[in-house]
């Protein structure tokens, strides 16, 4: 805020910023407070903003009674494997399109990007039949294979953009030294691309961590269901356990918030570069 601006403008910017923070953080903070309040406080006529007396009861329910840790494990495995495969395959594709002599490279790139616009509801039915025929229903593999393909267009696009910024002399020098294309990618390009890999890796991870429709359709037991399916099914017979739901929400959202706070700049860059894709 520079001295040029008058106090009125500074005040309105201040109010606006507070509103934005309240908008973004308020509902989650309420969820956080809810997760520490006992059911009596939650159903009281006047809601209390601060949990007093606080209780760990909901966190206990979530893990001991509802085995939430199993969903978390499934999500970590699925999102982790998805990220690794996305980065490996996406890097190969982006490298080929950016650094090697290939015809129609922009046509190929646009084809890859347009595929990412297919609505998932149009894919889920046939994929279910396919997974069923291959005996892949209720497995990690079905989810990882699906999420990988959904994540690849954005990963390839962002990595392509990053690889394009390296000078061509790099390739020639490698060629002179007798390094093959894979050597160029693995020993030179990838180590230089750590920031872009972190960015797209995070985006792929978050997308897989949050995905719901495919997980709902493909998995049927707690052995392979991911967190979103677990939370969606969090209803007791006679009432909605809002406190338990709030505790589970906090558990899955806190790691994401930590990632977002640490890698804010990377994520914003990746997203805005991927904005063409959406």
């Amino acid at each position: 805020m520079t001295a040029r601006h008058g106090p009125v403008r500074r005040l309105s910017v201040g109010v606006g910023v507070v509103a934005i923070v309240g908008w973004s953080a308020g509902p989650f903070l309420w969820q956080l407070s809810t997760s520490f309040q006992d059911d009596k406080a939650l159903t009281a006529a006047t809601p209390s903003l601060w949990p007093s007396p606080g209780t760990w009861e909901h966190y206990y329910n979530v893990f001991a009674a509802k085995h939430f840790q199993l969903y978390v494990l499934n999500s970590v495995v699925v999102a982790g494997l998805t990220t690794i495969f996305c980065l490996a395959i996406g890097a190969l594709a982006a490298f080929s399109l950016s650094r090697l002599r290939i015809r129609h490279r922009f046509g190929i790139l646009i084809a890859i990007l347009s595929v990412s616009m297919f609505p998932q509801i149009a894919l889920v039915g046939p994929l279910y039949l396919l997974a069923s025929a291959l005996g892949l229903l209720d497995t990690y593999a079905s989810l990882v294979i699906a999420y990988m393909a959904l994540g690849l267009p954005l990963v390839t696009w962002v990595l392509f953009g990053y690889f394009e910024t390296f000078p061509r002399e790099l390739d020639e020098a490698a060629r002179m030294d007798g390094i093959g294309p894979i050597g160029l990618l693995v020993r030179i390009i990838l180590p230089l691309s750590a920031p872009a890999l972190v960015t797209v890796g995070l985006l792929a991870f978050i997308a897989a961590w949050n995905e719901f429709m495919f997980a709902l359709a493909f998995t049927s037991t707690i052995d392979h269901q991911t967190i979103p399916v677990g939370i969606a099914n969090f209803t007791d017979l006679y009432y909605v356990p809002w406190g338990d739901i709030a505790a589970a929400s906090v558990v899955v959202t806190l790691p994401l918030i930590a990632l977002v706070l640490v890698f804010q700049r990377h994520i914003v860059e990746g997203l805005t570069q991927g904005a063409v894709k959406g």
Binding site: F28, I102, P119, G125
Partner: protein, 293 residues
């Protein structure tokens, strides 16, 4: 200089081709194929029926009901998100202490799983103990609790509010990136000429931001058109089908009634609609660029 083999680039593209081919191209084609069949996992039928399903679709009141909700949801949420996002972007562009932290906070709604957002709004807007009812009663805006997503009149509106909460900050970041590409010198010049801030906005920033707004709005609309998670978890399409959208209707037709033929007709119709909108928009953009030259 040693030559690298010509096949290498294609070999490196093989994994992505297999992956996308199996998970995107094949299912889309298979879905179109199924949309001409009466495939049902219940009755075990699986015959070619030509355009019969599409005929049924046109006369299906459930489809048009979902279509209307989807269009209303798409138009209203996209418009609100673009407007609110623009306001947020203009604020985030200003200099103020702690700006980095605020920009990170804005990512929280985007990063949160949509299922969690649904449940969170389920609690915020709960008909009995929801804090929104309590707040509105406290300030005297409503006399009695409103059963937000449990009543036919308010359910779709509640879902739109949840979506706007989640996506407006994301729009803000995209538009902020657009704002940052506008050269400072332009705004400076406008200020020198005595332009007030709102004039600088209308005459300098908005025209420069126009293409970003259009593209961000289009992608947002295409995404909103597929809304699934929010609806499925918050209302399941109810009460009395008042929030049924094309995605939830297709999903239920596929996985609850197991009519893979007719379900595929619904989802293929959605796919074609989206493809037409995207293609029309792409042509519009190409023509604009052509005129600009």
């Amino acid at each position: 200089m040693p030559r690298w083999p010509d096949a290498t680039p294609w070999l490196l593209l093989l994994p992505i081709a297999v992956s996308i081919g199996a998970v995107s191209i094949y299912p889309i084609l298979n879905g179109i194929w199924l949309s001409f069949r009466n495939t049902s996992l219940v009755s075990q039928q699986d015959d070619f029926v030509g355009l019969l399903n599409y005929g049924l679709l046109l006369g299906d009141e459930g489809f048009w009901n979902a279509w209307r909700h989807t269009v209303v949801f798409t138009l209203v949420s996209t418009a609100l998100e673009t407007l609110i996002g623009l306001g947020m972007a203009l604020l985030l562009f200003e200099r103020f202490p702690g700006r980095g932290l605020v920009r990170a906070a804005v990512l929280v709604p985007w990063a949160m799983p949509t299922v969690v957002t649904s449940k969170m709004f389920g609690w915020l807007f709960d008909g009995q103990h929801g804090v929104v009812n309590w707040l509105l009663r406290s300030v005297g805006l409503i006399g009695a609790n409103i059963n937000w997503y449990g009543s036919v009149d308010h359910a779709l509106g509640t879902i739109i509010v949840a979506d706007v909460w989640k996506t407006a900050p994301f729009m803000a970041l995209l538009l902020l990136a657009g704002l940052q590409t506008i050269p400072d010198s332009l705004l400076e010049a406008a200020r020198m000429d005595g332009a007030k801030p709102w004039q600088a906005f209308i005459f300098v920033r908005l025209p420069m931001l126009w293409s970003t707004l259009l593209i961000a709005g289009l992608f947002r609309a295409l995404d909103a058109f597929r809304v699934f998670d929010l609806v499925y978890v918050l209302t399941g399409g109810g009460p009395a089908d008042s929030t049924e959208t094309l995605s939830t209707l297709s999903y239920k037709t596929l996985f609850s009634t197991l009519q893979f033929g007719y379900g595929s007709t619904l989802s293929t119709a959605m796919f074609i609609t989206e493809a037409l909108i995207a293609a029309g928009f792409a042509m519009f953009i190409v023509r604009k660029i052509g005129q600009a030259r």
